[in-house]
């Protein structure tokens, strides 16, 4: 794996840069943009779901908040696109700090339900706060990107930045603390890791990435409605992470590409499209519960990708470096 990785990464980079020429049609490029945005979303969700083992089912809230922040900054204040993206990331990160700060007081199924609840309350506010969001009518007239190609490069830059950021976070003290928590929380606590603080930090970082993705989505669509908070988006992200391989970096990216394109390939099935989609999803989970990337890596007879494999070794040094609270 390690010898192949630079080659694979370079090939992926060349392929990504060539996308506007490989997929010149408007719709094909739109799908590529969505795949890149989903890659960023799945990577950010994977920080909590894959590395910390905390299933946040409210991730769409950050995506939607980022989208609305960018849209409103653009429409109300005339902010340029880059400023809107920054505002979207900042608002989402702040929300991640607050929601994570409250929700990480509980674990397991309770955490799951709590994150869903926060996301749904935010969705209902977007739907009903007519003065600001115009409710279900939505917000038209957001400044679009200069061209689909520039939207692609914005989305690609975000996906690449998220990949690098996740790579760095996973190897940082926070990342090691998250993995230690996932493997055994009482043990992690007993050796002095401030689990709660690391979780809240990860939540804010993860939310920030999702918020920027939302901002790019708002400018790409040039229209924003409460649809952006649909629970279906969260479900799609979770599918991408779990099917691709939680706790790996390649998994969410591969999952994002596959599950963005899959519904398109299934268009021939017409009204049975989502039925077939669900059957494929069930088959992937039942036959590859660890996800595509770890299963494929095991088939190739190689080690699992570095992230989780480092877990048992990472915990003790982290504790040694951080002796007390």
């Amino acid at each position: 794996m390690s010898a192949l990785r630079p080659v694979l990464l370079a090939a992926a980079a060349v392929l990504a840069l060539a996308v506007p020429w490989l997929a010149p049609g408007g719709y094909a490029l739109h799908l590529a943009i969505m795949a890149a945005l989903y890659a960023a979303l799945a990577l950010s969700l994977n920080l909590l779901l894959g590395y910390a083992g905390q299933l946040s089912l409210g991730h769409v809230a950050y995506f939607g908040l980022g989208a609305y922040a960018a849209a409103l900054a653009n429409l109300e204040l005339g902010a340029p696109i880059w400023a809107g993206l920054a505002a979207g990331g900042a608002l989402a990160a702040a929300a991640g700090l607050v929601i994570g700060g409250l929700a990480f007081k509980v674990r397991g199924a309770y955490f799951v339900i709590l994150t869903v609840s926060f996301a749904e309350v935010i969705r209902l506010i977007a739907l009903n706060w007519m003065d600001v969001t115009q409710g279900p009518l939505g917000l038209p007239g957001i400044t679009p990107f200069g061209s689909k190609t520039s939207a692609w490069f914005a989305a690609l830059a975000l996906a690449a930045a998220s990949l690098v950021a996740c790579h760095r976070i996973v190897r940082s003290r926070t990342g090691r603390a998250l993995v230690a928590l996932r493997e055994n929380e009482p043990l992690a606590r007993s050796i002095g890791i401030d689990v709660y603080r690391h979780l809240v930090v990860a939540s804010a970082l993860s939310a920030g990435m999702a918020g920027v993705a939302g901002g790019i989505y708002a400018h790409h669509q040039a229209f924003m409605s409460p649809e952006v908070f649909s629970f279906g988006y969260t479900v799609t992200m979770v599918i991408m992470v779990v099917a691709g391989g939680q706790g790996t970096l390649a998994g969410p990216v591969l999952g994002a590409i596959l599950f963005t394109l899959l519904p398109e390939w299934l268009r021939a099935a017409q009204e049975w499209r989502l039925v077939v989609y669900a059957v494929i999803l069930l088959a992937v989970v039942v036959f590859m519960p660890k996800g595509i990337v770890p299963t494929a890596a095991a088939w190739l007879g190689r080690r699992r990708p570095a992230g989780p494999a480092a877990a048992p070794n990472a915990a003790p040094p982290a504790a040694a470096a951080e002796p007390r609270q």
Partner: protein, 290 residues
């Protein structure tokens, strides 16, 4: 004062079915540690089953309802045996994703079979309300409430006084010890999931004739069920009953006095408050998982 009474009664009538939904989910959640996102789909299956038997097959009202509930139980047992049992050793996230897949699958199967147009189920009850003192009661709501209450009492008695009920309670407390005591845990799981699905289908069969029947009707039902489970405490049947009634009343009051637009937000706000203040549920007995 009279409006307040009317809101309370309306809330209780709806709350009965919320309790029914919540009990099914809380059992599956508590005993099997499965977050059943497809729970609302069994509710939709119950409603569509009633529609199929009553409107398409021409059966009378009560046999149609009973048939739909039996269908829900069989469907639940089938799902447990084919999908959940092979994944017993997997994490809660994996089984949850499977339930999400099942949710998409069932909802879109219904859409492919019945189409997206809402259907109504005729019922034999008088549309004219009965006056009881200052309040008005719709006969069908009274029927729905009484049926839900009777079902809840039956489930409670079954759990408290039968051998299988005892086995389910033992499995909830400690699966491994229960297995060591000779309890067939696998069969307990199948029965639990079938019972949960059956209760959800019963709620759907009861409310189908009150409202309209459409493929995505299960989404809202799942959501109510989750609120009820959180408020009542995991695996707590009495808690789920009380929480179901509470949620019904709270929604009715919220819609009446605050804003009907935020009616569905009431459930979420209650979840957030309960989890932050009293994570073991409003009604005692801590049974936390995770």
């Amino acid at each position: 004062m009279e409006t307040l009474l009317q809101h309370l009664v309306n809330g209780l009538m709806l709350g009965g079915t919320y309790a029914l939904l919540g009990i099914g989910l809380t059992l599956v959640f508590g005993i099997m540690n499965v977050v059943n996102f497809a729970h609302g789909e069994f509710y939709a299956a119950g409603a569509f089953g009633t529609y199929a038997l009553l409107v398409k097959a021409g059966l009378p009202f009560y046999p149609s309802l009973a048939g739909a509930v039996v269908g829900g139980v069989v469907l639940g047992a089938l799902v447990e045996r084919t999908v959940l049992r092979p994944l017993r050793a997997e994490s809660i996230e994996t089984t949850m994703l499977v339930m999400i897949g099942l949710w998409i699958l069932m909802q879109n199967l219904e859409l492919a079979i019945w189409g997206g147009i809402p259907q109504s189920i005729p019922n034999p009850f008088s549309p004219f309300p009965i006056e009881v003192g200052p309040i008005l009661l719709q006969p069908i709501y009274v029927f729905v409430f009484l049926s839900a209450a009777a079902t809840i009492v039956l489930v409670h008695l079954g759990l408290a006084h039968t051998r299988w009920g005892c086995a389910m309670r033992a499995t909830f407390m400690d699966r491994r010890t229960a297995a060591l005591m000779g309890i067939p845990v696998d069969r307990v799981y199948t029965i639990t999931f079938a019972l949960g699905a059956g209760l959800s289908a019963a709620a759907g069969a009861l409310l189908g004739p009150v409202f309209v029947v459409y493929p995505s009707m299960g989404d809202l039902a799942s959501l109510k069920a989750f609120s009820v489970v959180i408020m009542g405490g995991l695996g707590n049947v009495a808690g789920a009953t009380a929480a179901g009634l509470t949620l019904g009343v709270a929604e009715s009051l919220g819609a009446g006095y605050v804003s009907s637009a935020y009616k569905d937000a009431v459930g979420f706000l209650m979840i957030i408050l309960v989890l932050l203040v009293r994570p073991e549920g409003l009604f005692g007995r801590a049974g936390r998982i995770g």
